[in-house]
Amino acid sequence: MNFPKELRYTKSHEWAKLSGNKVLVGITDYAQKEISDVVFVDLPKPGQAVVRGKPAAVVESVKAAFDIYAPVSGKVTQKNSALESTPELVNQDCYGKGWFFEIELSSCGEWDELMTSEQYAQHIQQEVR
C-alpha cells in the first residue's frame, strides 16, 4: 500500500497535504480499499467551519456509510465537486483526483500533531493485527 511521504495522516485514515496555510484532505489507500466500491460522497460546503477529529464528510460504499473526519480545524475553502458525479475517483486515485476538500488552517500546532507516513504505516499494522 502506498502512503506518500509528503503527506500527513490521521488515525482515522485521512491524509492531509499542506500548501501555504491551506490543507487538502482525502482518504488513504488503506481506507479506500477497506471501504471498497465508493458510490456516494457528501462533502462540506465552502465557508463551513470544521473541527479537528469531528465528522466533516460522508463516504458511502455499496455496503455502508463512513464518516470522514477533519484532520485539522478551520474553514472549508473548496470541495471536490467531481466526486458528486464520479465517486469512484476515490478508489481510482485516492491521493489525486479523489481528494475531498480543502481547509484553511486555523492553528499550525494541529498540523504538527498529524502522523508522518512512517507513523501511519505502523498504525495500520497494529490495526490489522
Binding site: S36, D42, E60, V62, K63, A65, E84
Partner: protein, 367 residues
Amino acid sequence: MNALLPEKTRFFPLHEKHMQSGARFGMFGEWQVPLYYTSILEEHEAVRKRAGLFDISHMGEVWVEGTESLEFLQRLLPRDLRKIKDGQALYAPLLNEAGGFIDDVIVYKFQDQKYLIITNAANTDKDFEWIQNHLSGSLKAVNQSDRYGLLSIQGPLSAQIVSNAFGKKFLDLKYYRFAPWGNGMIARTGYTGEDGFEIMAECSELSGVWERLFQSGRESGLVPVGFGARDTLRLEASMLLYGHDMDDQRTPLEAGVAWAVDLEKNAYIGREALVQQKKKGIQQRLAGFELLDRGVPRQGYEIRMGHEPVGTVTSGSYCPTLKKNMGMAYLNAEAAAPGTGIDIIIRDKAVHAKVVAMPFYRRQKLS
C-alpha cells in the same frame, strides 16, 4: 475495521477456499460469510452479464417425511401444496397465528411422503422448533443443516456451465423444478433475478462441486460472488430479505406477496388473521422507491410526505445495474402508489424520492 469475531461464530465448509480466493468476510447472523472477493460492483455485473457462484451454505435444510406429510404441510403453509409434483419446488411464507412471517422458505417435493424445506439461516432453529411443535402422528422432521451445503450459480451463462459440469438434462430443467443429484439436488432457483441453479450437496462433496463448476465456467467468466452483490442483486429484483423487508410483525399481504398465500385454501396457520386483515384493509405496505436527489437509502431511515412520517426504509442501496439509488419501505397506504413524491430522511436532511413499481429489474428472456 478488523473487529474481533463474536464468540459464537460459524464458518462455511469452504471457508478456507474463500480465503484462498481473496474473500473479505463479514458477519451474517452467526455466520462468517464472504462479503466480496474483488469488488461488489464487479461481482454484481458478472452475475448480470455472465455468471457468478455464491456459497450460501448458511441456509437450513429440514426434511419432512411420513405418510401424512402433505396434510401436515397443508396446515403449516399458506399455499396449496397439492399443486406441486415430484421434482417441483414452491416459494412459501411460514406464518404464525397472527399471519406474520416466521420465515420465508422454499419447499421441494421429492416424493409423496418426502419433502425438503430450505430455510433462512438465522431462522432455521426457530423454524425447526415451530415445525416440530406442530407435528403429529408418525410424521418426522429432521434438521440436516449441518450435513448439507448450498451453492448457487446465477447469471445468463449458468445453464451452459451447469450442463457442461453435471449433464445436458439440466438445460431443460424448468424454473422452480429440481433433479436429485448425489445425496442432494440441483434446482433451477435463485435470488438474483437471473437464470440460475442452486446446488445442495453434502458438505464433503461441496469442494468438488465448486471445482467442477469453475472448470466448466472459468473460461466463460464465472467468478465467485459474495454476500455484498447478493444483496444488491436481490434488491434490484425486489426479492424480500427476512429481518429487513418482512418479519413476524408483517403479513404477506403487507409485504406484497399476496400471490404466495391462498385465502381459498382451508385451515392453515395464520389464515384467519389474513382473512380478517384483507377484510379490514392494510395500513402499510411494502413499496419500492428511487431517489431523485443524491444519497443512498439504508434500512431504518424515516420517510416523510411533507412533514408527516409515512414509513421506514427496510432495504436500500445503490443499484449497480440500474445506476440509481433505490430501496424498499413500508409506507402508509396513501403514500404507497407509484409516482407518489416522498422524502427519505438521510442524516437529518430530506432527500426527494418517488415511489416506483417493483421489481426494479427484470431480465430479458430469450424465448
